[in-house]
């Protein structure tokens, strides 16, 4: 007998409903011996491609449908009540119709609440040739099912008849989940179907893989409906909605048919027939399943793209001055051969057209990633990196043997990213372009929030509990509670929260909501909407329901247009230089060998620069001492978890500085490895090594390199590599040694093309910092490209000699503005000192930095300048009352009204900030009472000196609260007396301390990071800032027992540590203990200095450190489960400016592995 087919199956891609992933469902179906499986997720086809691939892999025929809400007419709209739902399946060949129906459903409903009407379904249900394209199933949740349940048989009959008249392929779906009356309803639906002559099918309305998943389902029901868990909110009160096997389903059939075997067999046969009508051809929908000749859906160019691309490249040779270069010509010919064989000419022509367009809009645009390795990209102007200059290979980007499509990524100014999207949409039209989506999934914090809410915990408690965890996966919650000292001590680990945590772990990785991918743009042809469903993103962009992997699998081409804040910062800096100094600078034309710039980098004054500002990078550049662009490329490549952990850094540095000879496994490999002194740093070198040793060519080498990522892959590559190398006559030890190098570093190397693309903005930012410091900081402060909060950047600006000018209603602008404050000092012959870099310039705090100010208010404030008084400002800029008060608090009117905070506080007859704040109250009441009736003169009158002035401490406190930074004074300066009394060493004096000395340091916490380190420990790196420079502290696991909670939870810290010299000019401290400075200060005031000394003298025994087994890699590379995964934050894409760019009120940088403040503090 043919197997049963589940026609109604929700996967985890039914958001906050399903619990199992498509792969697991397909796997289970295969285990049950089923030869077909449908996926019918709620509201979309988010999981469809994954389902089709999973089915294909297991030899199962895929069926795809969607479970859609029905618009019940005006009466039901807006009601929170459950809408009726129907299931629509694509019949074989009906994929396009299904995509278009889903798209239409999303356009009809509110965003996030798609729905259909019978009319819409009917419109799509028939194909152009009159053949039915869709199958509609009406189950217990449909209007028909509900009428049956309520025993309104006439209504059920009428509804079914109405559907039958508009949909050619209609089915009644019977379901029995063993709930109270389920069987009863199923029996009557079966009767109704028989009497109306509509075929009936049996499904299990699957949403679980196993019955045990029902608790997760219950939690999701509550989370979706925003209600606490209660019997009446559950969608399925039983645990039976799991993927049952054929025998179980036969029992269900028999039960519904009252034990009548013949009728049961009929029901199952009808189900099978329906499935067979709907089996899809996987390769048609997922062309990449056909590795030989995938059918791509390229954009239409309007003419033959092959000669077009050839012409553009030819022009490029001339423009780049490479006409006579034999190397360039032969490389170009090789690249074009592969591009044309893969029929990708049109893709390159399209991308070149898009980058041209972006630049013509005046937006900075740079290539990133492996695409920089292609000469075609350089010649067509897609990128500015010449691959020949840096020895970059195209095979890393696009090669003969590579499955899938090449990925061209371009970076644009983050503030203009959406403008770029709009321009692309305008040029190609909405029918051909869509953004790519991505699924946000449950992680520890979000899972705890949703489960906590479902279990009815008070919201503020949920907030405290969730924030206590670092950003780890949900399934690590239990482990984190026992592993991490700060959580062990938190009291969260008690029985009352056990259920919350247990369930939160079960939500691990489930998709939570769909969001716009930060950079992917799909450029297709006019059939795009036959291939992917499209919904609206939050910002109203058309957005495919497929994620970036699905898009590629579906044979659609995408371009990554990434918003990079540093590009915005650079553009802003250039505009400020032009505005203030009248200089037009072409950053692309700046020579790449400016010694002054490299001098700045070598002394690690890189705060604010792209990629090289983190504490670890500052340490590395100080040791590496870059002098050329190539050094920067190596530096960026070395600073990643892999190389750091595999200890590639030390041998490279030793050879670089001549402490030891560069070593090569074999003379033949010298060429490939010379640029990095024998150490494998780049993917490109891995390719060359493999090519030299095996003679297999670079394309084949690239395929082998990809295999090095996994242990099984490495075995396979080894089995292929070793015999080939031996056959080429390499002696056994050389082969072994070469293999060892590949084995250890191959998986961790970095794509040199990517590093080369990154090194450009790195250099450009450092160049600007060196030569136009004030404008550089203005750009960085305005666009916040890096890891540090603005108060740290501002302090760096101050240390570079730039004056920080407080908010002034008559001088501040929308963004940070540069002002000339005095003469620029003549440069001394050996170049200016760091403290002189920005001399003669000031930075003006902008209106937009004020907490809570709206864009419209900022625009009015800027528009209305100059102002003659507070009342004038109030009248014309029309700020909200709290915003006006905040502006006064941080000194926005000091210049206008001649105010200054500080002593004496009582100044009879002299105006104070507090007087002005009081005046705002009067103005506000005046406006509220009788608009426009109070004469101006009345409100203008302020009694001066009625209220006391703010102290300097209060002023700084207000600056921190309102602006998120200390403008007038460094906050640590208020504690100078105590710090001097206990003998704290300042950052500027650290270099004079001997190695191994035990000292006290203090400062404002600037950053905490828990990066991957060699030992596999969780190590906390913390940077303090004490107004004289940064202090870098390292907390190893042995001291985290008594320090972790303070490090993560406090802002002002005092720490005891051992001096460790790390380079010529670099010092860091191994921390032993740390304290909250504010607490010490209180102790000092209450109990005196001796009490503080007693606390500082405590020597807690090294406690139990961080638990958790490190993840071990084949080559001995170990990783703490709590280290930040992926690249260090600064090397990641950075934060993306989403929408309007809410100003960040962060006071310090915390990496993903950092815990939040512990509860109860």
């Amino acid at each position: 007998m043919a197997s049963f087919v589940h026609l109604h199956t929700a996967s985890a891609f039914s958001l906050r409903y399903g619990t199992a992933f498509p792969g697991a469902l397909a796997g289970r179906a295969a285990e049950h011996g089923m030869d077909m499986l449908a996926l019918t997720d709620r509201d979309g086809l988010y999981g469809a491609i994954k389902h089709i691939r999973a089915c294909h892999e297991r030899g199962i025929a895929p069926v795809v449908g969607v479970d859609l809400a029905l618009d019940g007419g005006p009466a039901s709209r807006g009601r929170r009540a459950d809408p009726a739902r129907i299931v629509v399946l694509a019949r074989s060949g009906g994929w396009a119709a299904l995509c278009r129906l889903v798209t239409a459903a999303h356009h009809a409903g509110e965003r996030g609440e798609p729905h259909v009407t019978p009319g819409m379904v009917s419109e799509h249900a028939t194909g152009p040739d009159g053949e039915p394209a869709l199958t509609v199933m009406l189950g217990p949740r449909s209007g028909v099912g509900r009428a049956v349940a309520e025993r309104r048989d006439d209504q059920a009959r009428a509804l079914l008849a109405a559907w039958r008249s508009v949909v050619p392929d209609l089915l009644v779906e019977v379901v029995d989940l063993y709930g109270y009356r389920d069987a009863n309803i199923a029996v009557r639906m079966l009767g109704l179907a028989a009497s109306m002559g509509v075929p009936a099918v049996l499904t299990n309305a699957v949403r679980y893989l196993d019955a045990a998943d029902h608790q997760v389902g219950n939690v999701l029901d509550a989370a979706r409906k925003l209600v606490p868990l209660d019997g009446r909110h559950l969608e399925h009160p039983t645990a039976h909605a799991y993927l049952k096997d054929g025998a179980e389903m036969a029992r269900v059939a028999s039960r519904i048919c009252g034990g009548d075997a013949e009728r049961a067999a009929l029901l199952l046969a009808e189900t099978r027939r329906a499935a067979e009508r709907c089996a899809l051809d996987p390769v048609e929908i997922v062309p990449l399943l056909d590795p030989e000749d995938p059918r791509l859906h390229l954009p239409e160019i309007g003419e033959d793209p092959v000669p077009l691309l050839r012409h553009r490249c030819e022009d490029g040779l001339a423009r780049r001055g490479l006409e006579r270069s034999e190397e360039a010509r032969s490389r170009l010919a090789a690249e074009l051969t592969i591009i044309e064989r893969k029929r990708l000419s049109g893709y390159f022509v399209t991308v070149a057209g898009i980058t041209d367009m972006i630049r013509s809009m005046g937006v900075r645009c740079a290539i990133r990633g492996s695409g920089a390795g292609s000469l075609v990209n350089y010649l067509t102007g897609i990128g500015e990196v010449n691959p020949l200059e840096h020895g970059l290979l195209m095979e890393r980007f696009l090669s003969e043997g590579r499955r899938g499509l090449p990925d061209i990524d371009v970076d644009v100014e983050s503030a203009r990213r959406l403008d770029c999207y709009r321009a692309i949409l305008d040029r190609y039209g909405e029918a051909r372009v869509a953004c790519v989506s991505m699924m946000e999934t449950y992680r520890a914090r979000s899972a705890i929030r949703d489960v906590g809410a479902a279990m009815g915990l008070p919201p503020h408690e949920i907030d405290v509990i969730a924030k206590a965890f670092p950003h780890v996966r949900a399934r690590q919650i239990g482990a984190a509670l026992t592993d991490l000292p700060e959580l062990r001590a938190s009291g969260l680990n008690d029985r009352s929260l056990e259920t919350v945590f247990r369930l939160a772990e079960r939500l691990d990785g489930l998709p939570r909501h769909v969001a716009l991918h930060p950079c992917g743009v799909l450029v297709g042809n006019s059939s795009l909407r036959d291939r992917t469903p499209v919904e609206r993103s939050l910002l109203d962009f058309p957005m495919s329901q497929f994620d970036k992997d699905d898009v590629e699998e579906a044979g659609l081409l995408k371009l990554d247009v990434l918003g990079v804040r540093m590009q915005s910062a650079l553009a802003y800096s250039l505009r400020e230089i032009e505005r203030v100094d009248g200089l037009r600078i072409d950053l692309e034309a700046v020579p790449h060998d400016d010694p002054a710039t490299y001098d700045l980098i070598r002394v690690a004054r890189t705060l604010g620069c792209f990629q090289i500002e983190s504490p670890g990078q500052r340490e590395l550049v100080a040791k590496l001492e870059p002098r050329t662009m190539h050094d920067l490329i190596v530096d960026i490549s070395l600073f990643r978890p892999g190389p750091v952990n595999s200890d590639m850094v030390t041998p490279y540095l030793e050879a670089r500085h001549g402490f030891r000879e560069a070593r090569y496994p074999h003379e033949a490999l010298r060429d490939a490895l010379r640029e990095t002194n024998g150490v494998v740093v780049f993917h490109e070198q891995v390719l060359r090594v493999i090519d030299v040793m095996t003679g297999s060519g670079l394309s084949e080498a690239e395929r082998a390199r990809r295999g090095l990522g996994s242990p099984e892959g490495r075995e396979a590559v080894r089995a292929w590599f070793v015999p080939l190398a031996r056959a080429r006559g390499f002696p056994e030890p050389t082969v072994e040694q070469a293999w060892h190098v590949l084995d250890a570093f191959g998986g961790f190397g970095f794509c040199k093309a990517h590093a080369a693309a990154f090194a450009l903005p790195t250099y450009q930012s450092a160049w600007l910092k060196r030569h136009h410091a004030a404008a550089f900081f203005a750009g960085v402060l305005t666009h916040e490209p890096g890891m540090y909060p603005n108060r740290v950047i501002l302090d760096e600006a101050r240390q570079c000699g730039v004056e920080v000018l407080s908010l002034d209603v008559n001088h501040s602008g929308e963004h940070w503005l540069v002002e000339r404050t005095g003469p620029v000092p003549e440069p001394s012959p050996d170049g200016p000192r760091v403290a002189e870099l920005g001399r003669g310039y000031g930075l003006r705090v902008p209106f937009s930095a004020v907490k809570g100010v709206s864009d419209a208010e900022v625009a009015r404030m800027v528009e209305g300048r100059p102002y003659t008084s507070l009342a004038d400002f109030w009248e014309r800029a029309r700020p909200s009352r709290p915003v006006a008060e905040r502006i006064v608090e941080v000194g926005g009117f000091d210049a206008l009204h001649g105010l200054r905070p500080g002593e004496p506080r009582w100044r009879p007859g002299e105006l104070t900030r507090r007087d002005l704040i009081a005046q705002i109250g009067t103005l506000d009441r005046g406006a509220a009472g009788a608009a426009g009736q109070l004469p101006m003169a009345f409100t203008e009158r302020v009694t001066p000196g009625e209220l006391p002035e703010m102290t300097e401490a209060e002023a700084v406190e207000a600056e921190l609260a309102v602006l998120g930074m200390d403008v007038s004074r460094h906050v640590i300066s208020f504690h100078d007396e105590l710090l001097d009394a206990i003998g704290v060493t300042r950052a500027k004096d650290l270099l004079s301390r001997r190695n191994g000395a035990e000292i006290l340091v203090a400062g404002v916490k600037v950053a905490t990071q828990t990066p991957a380190v060699r030992s596999g420990q969780r190590v906390i790196f913390t940077t303090l800032d004490d107004s004289t420079g940064p202090v870098d502290l390292t907390f190893f696991e042995s001291v985290q027992g008594h320090t972790a909670a303070t490090v993560f939870g406090s802002w002002l810290l005092v720490a005891r540590g051992v001096v460790r010299r790390t380079g010529g000019r670099a010092v860091s401290l191994r921390a032993l203990h740390c304290w909250d400075l504010v607490a010490l200060d209180r102790l000092w005031r209450d109990r005196g200095l001796d009490a503080v000394r007693a606390v500082l003298d405590e020597r807690p025994a090294p406690g139990a450190g961080v638990g958790g087994r490190p993840l071990e890699y084949g080559n001995g590379y170990r990783l703490s489960p709590y280290s930040d995964n992926g690249a260090p934050p600064a090397a990641r894409e950075g934060r993306f400016l989403a929408g309007s760019g809410e100003p960040h009120r962060r006071l310090w940088h915390a990496s993903a592995g950092s815990s939040g403040p512990p509860p109860g503090r």
């Binding site: 063993y178 709930g179 109270y180 389920d182 608790q215 868990l229 039983t238 645990a239 259920t499 247990r502």
Partner: protein
Amino acid sequence: MSRLYGEPIEVWVRDGRPAQFVWRDRLYTVREVQDHWVVVREWWKTSDADPGERRFWRVEAAAGRQVGTYELRFDTAADGWLLLRAWD
């Protein structure tokens, strides 16, 4: 009219459904299953990881010549049967 009991009983199960049970020292033979449904316990109100489910059976059963309708309940966590109600 049904009467409520809630008394523990012993049940013999055949093919996944109750076939015979002993209640108050009398043996009842199940003649027909009239209804069967499942209710999952409200697990979030207890501290047990899985409080299990309750399976209800409404059956027509006979003890000798006396025929009646009985509602039986099986609790998976307690692994025990109760006779909940009887219409006899």
